[in-house]
Amino acid sequence: MSPLQLGDKTFQSRLFTGTGKFASNLLMEEAIEASESELVTVALRRVEMDNKADDILKHLKHQRINLLPNTSGVRTAKEAVFAAQLAREALETNWLKLEIHPDPKYLLPDPIETLKAAEELVKLGFIVLPYVQADAVLCKRLEEVGTAAVMPLGAPIGSNQGLQTKEMLRIIIEQSQVPVVVDAGIGAPSHAADAMEMGADAVLVNTAIAVSPNPVQMALAFKMAVEAGRMAYEAKLATQSMGAEASSPLTAFLDEL
């Protein structure tokens, strides 16, 4: 399985993980460990940025783990940029998962504010990974303003519904010149494998691991599924037959003319 080049880093794992919803921070640590994830997103609103002993951050201090602070909670580009700058200073990373969802019910991303913020954050030197709708044009626009990747959703956050946006993801993957990370909605390892087989560069999984009765085992299952999907993609899947083959040739008449 080839490593993933993203921003200024190289990742051996193509499974990115989240930190919310776990029954304890210790369990979160164990699950992330089992997943072998190297990029872990954490909500700025959840951590005490000025407290070195913050309990979430304490459990993420592993050599392998790169922190990916996210702006979940902000509603506008202005708020996102302000929060990002504080995070960069406090957490000493210029990586940022840009999330602007003014709708607290389905947490669907605002494309207009996201594009505005992304452009400004790139200029300010951030490595920006924007969470977006599976909108191929928006993904190209984000690429043009310099985001390091795009993170289109498979389904609403936390819904475990799988790749509801599959046809759109296919177009995004086909057209994108930056890594495509399928984020949100991935509810089962098979969904993750499916995304990887399609050619997604990575997936981000949180709820399906955190809320499982056995998060550690589920994390391992996702790790294996992501690897299997990626390996299958790189090995190239056999072409699927489009339908039954005609029993008598359709063009035999051409020889009779």
Binding site: F22, R45, R46, G73, A87
Partner: protein, 372 residues
């Protein structure tokens, strides 16, 4: 767009009540099987006949809550700033008619109080006052938000209804959530519980979440006081209100509380009793009806009830609460608004939550998320 008052007016209280009390087992089963329950389904879930389905409701409520919120409980604590009040609410310990010592904390006293609260671990502070324009009006609240803001990433208030521009100015200062309970949606009888003072204006209070939505508040807490009117009908109107607000002010998050009347200074006793099983049914019904709404359970409720409801739909809990101004550090007098039933320390509550397989969440907001 219709106002909620107009929506409210299209629902007759008695007809609504009758439709809840005539729901059948079949209606409940339908409600439980629907992926997205309707308001009619909510009526079925709070109906008397649904009591027989309480176990199925619990299973569903737990699963929905875990998927949406994970295995976490948000922790908060109230800080009573003032018990001065010009209202005469029949059921409230702070009523103007009650002969109690009136206290409004000053800045220095508030700093003493929050030092104790901070040491307990809290990051979400709820400021509470009575309604007294002179002693604890908007200027006082602004001053107090300014005092507590550097110490708490999340600041909420539960105070008198205010004007839209007043809310806007508090939000600009960093206010995150406003709790404002209608007490009862029974328009005609509202006046009997709130005979005098500004609170006697049913319509102004009903319109308050609307003003908050227009001011772009992050979260609004609504609810009715259980024990005044028929609880099922009042709860239906709460759900109707929630449904309206979510559609009208979609940038705002919502929270529901279910305060049950408890003994207090004064002579008012609950008109209707809501027993534990019924309260559990109501909480689960809200959850099944709405997967996203915060459901908050205060220290009014007993230890056993809180321990067991932890997994069944609740998303927020208070702990170690004192319901009198100065109760944490300044005074040790019995001036409380209501008596708490769960008097365990925050550490004990925290241990209980962890033993139940959940993570207490102290911090879930940061002032940096709402720069204006």
């Amino acid at each position: 767009m219709k106002t909620f008052e107009e929506v409210h007016a299209t629902h007759n209280w008695e007809a609504t009540k009758a439709s809840i009390y005539t729901k059948t087992a079949e209606d409940v089963e339908k409600a439980l099987s629907r992926p997205k329950p309707t308001l009619e389904d909510f009526k079925a879930l709070i109906s008397p006949v649904a009591e027989a389905y309480i176990e199925q409701m619990a299973i569903k409520s737990r699963a929905i809550t875990q998927q949406r919120f994970g295995k976490t409980i948000q922790m908060y604590i109230p800080l009573y700033l003032s018990n001065a009040c010009a209202n005469a609410c029949a059921y409230c310990g702070f009523s103007h008619d009650n002969d109690i010592k009136r206290i409004t904390l000053n800045k220095e006293q508030v700093l003493q109080e929050i030092e104790v609260i901070k040491n307990m671990g809290f990051q979400h502070l709820l400021l509470v006052t009575g309604e007294h324009p002179k002693d604890c009006g908007i200027d006082y609240l602004k001053e107090m938000v300014e005092v507590v803001k550097p110490h708490f990433p999340s600041v909420s208030i539960e105070v008198q209804p205010m004007k839209e521009h007043e809310y806007a100015s508090l939000i600009d200062m960093g206010l995150h959530t406003v709790y404002v309970y209608q007490e009862t949606y029974h328009k005609e009888n509202y006046k009997t519980y709130h005979p005098r003072g500004k609170k006697s204006d049913f319509s102004y209070r009903l319109d308050t979440p609307e003003r908050l939505g227009k001011a772009h508040i992050h979260k609004i807490g609504i609810g009715c006081l259980l024990g005044l009117e028929d609880w099922r009908t009042d709860s239906f109107f709460t759900a109707l209100h929630l449904d309206y607000l979510e559609k009208s002010y979609w940038r705002t998050k919502y929270s529901i509380s279910f305060p049950r009347l408890r003994p207090h200074v004064g002579s008012f006793q609950p008109n209707v009793e809501v027993n534990d099983k019924q309260l559990a049914q109501l909480i689960m019904a809200y959850r099944i009806f709405n997967p996203d709404v915060d459901l908050s359970l205060s220290t009014r409720e007993s230890k056993k009830f809180r321990n067991n409801m932890l997994q069944l739909g609740i998303t927020a809990m208070s702990a170690g609460s004192k319901t009198e101004p100065g109760g944490y550090a300044v005074y040790n007098e019995a001036l409380e608004q209501f008596s708490v039933a769960d008097d365990r320390s925050p550490q004990e509550i925290c241990d209980m939550i962890k033993t139940g397989g959940y993570e207490p969440v102290w911090k879930d907001w940061d002032h940096c998320m709402q720069t204006s």
